[in-house]
Subunit: 200 residues, 2 copies
DNA sequence: TGACCTCTGGACCGACTGGTCTATAGAATT
DNA sequence: AATTCTATAGACCAGTCGGTCCAGAGGTCA
């Protein structure tokens, strides 16, 4: 007889706490900037717990964090883009949310994917695979919505990549500037260009 | 009588080699991912040399690397934008160069500024100041050229931020995708939008 | 009740980190 | 020739890194 695999209460909480803490550290310090001792202190967990839930250690936890971020982002995108909503509008809401997060954290919390993306090397195969899948999934969702909005396949893919780039690049500039302005300006410029194209 | 301050031959070579090596490591692994031992081995320099030229240690060298990158980028931009050339064309050349660099390094070499930007915290004041100045300078140069091309002040600033964001975000996506496509697509989409606006 | 299992807790470890310090080579100055 | 200054060289250090290992806590089975 197969044991029902609903786990105990405590276990998923701890595991989830580790992932959330890792996401937070990736946003603020990046992968190598985040030490295990700091992570465990923030998550209020001893070392053994980490290696129990993630035998692969720090890297495995980072992969889990990347995957959790991917899932979360896709859900949020689906929510914003749901019902064939206008991509420009959805993008506006998305960026607004990011700006609030950045500003609210004193310009410390950026994108958890971006930092890892720039620190990882080709040797970090699992991490890279997770990151590649993440951006791929996000672009695919955007492209799908753009196609629904009347763009052809090539244009949809191009605009999807441009939107993601604007988001990541805008966040990066805003972070070092200690000011949301660069991100807001970049986004506004992109939205204006998109609107003009529509009206053409 | 003032001593002519052309320095000895050896000194600036070593110092420069340290900076160039740091830039390379920032591009491939980021600030925290790059160890001093690796840096010194690549630069073929003993430890004492580093702390002789950069009493501030690793961070001071990173600041110097950021500043050198800024100067280099501004020079290149001036070259591309010189004589009131079209911004779209200049941007195309700029991005093409970055793509060749990325592809030629097996998708390892990205932007030395971006990685540091995401790893640094508000506590790293010098590093942050250097980075803020870097992006500020680059945006200013782009905005100036855009104004020459007939955009008003606000539009020029917005587009400048958008261009930088596209560059950084495109590079990031291409890096993890192991494929220049996302960057090429994002850039092409942006250039297409700019061209449409011109013709409007 | 005893065996088992998942999960927690933390002592412990070797490797490596960034950084300091002293010795010295060699050119420039006196 | 003696001195001074810049630059090179690397031994050395304390602290921290990620990771291993084992002891128990507490639940769920037979």
């Amino acid at each position: 007889m197969i044991t029902p695999d609903y786990s105990t209460e405590a276990a998923p909480q701890t595991r989830e706490r580790l992932i959330q803490t890792m996401i937070h550290l990736l946003q603020t310090r990046g992968l190598h900037g985040a030490g295990l001792s700091e992570l465990l202190a923030l998550a209020q967990a001893p070392k053994g717990v980490l290696y129990h839930h993630f035998p692969g250690g720090k890297t495995a936890l980072a992969v889990a964090a990347v995957e959790a971020t991917t899932a979360w982002s896709c859900n949020k995108l689906d929510e914003y883009l749901g019902g064939g909503a206008d991509v420009g509008q959805a993008l506006g809401r998305w960026i607004e949310r990011a700006q609030r997060g950045l500003h609210g954290s004193g310009f410390e919390r950026g994108c958890p994917l971006a930092a890892v993306a720039l620190e990882s090397t080709a040797a970090d195969t699992e991490l890279r695979a997770a990151l590649a899948a993440a951006f791929q999934a996000i672009r695919a969702r955007l492209a799908q919505a753009l196609r629904r909005n009347g763009h052809d396949e090539a244009a949809a893919q191009g605009l999807a990549a441009l939107i993601v780039a604007t988001y990541e690049g805008g966040l990066l500039q805003a972070r070092v500037a200690n000011d949301t302005a660069p991100m807001a300006q970049a986004t506004a410029a992109l939205l204006a260009l998109l609107k003009e194209k529509e009206q053409k």
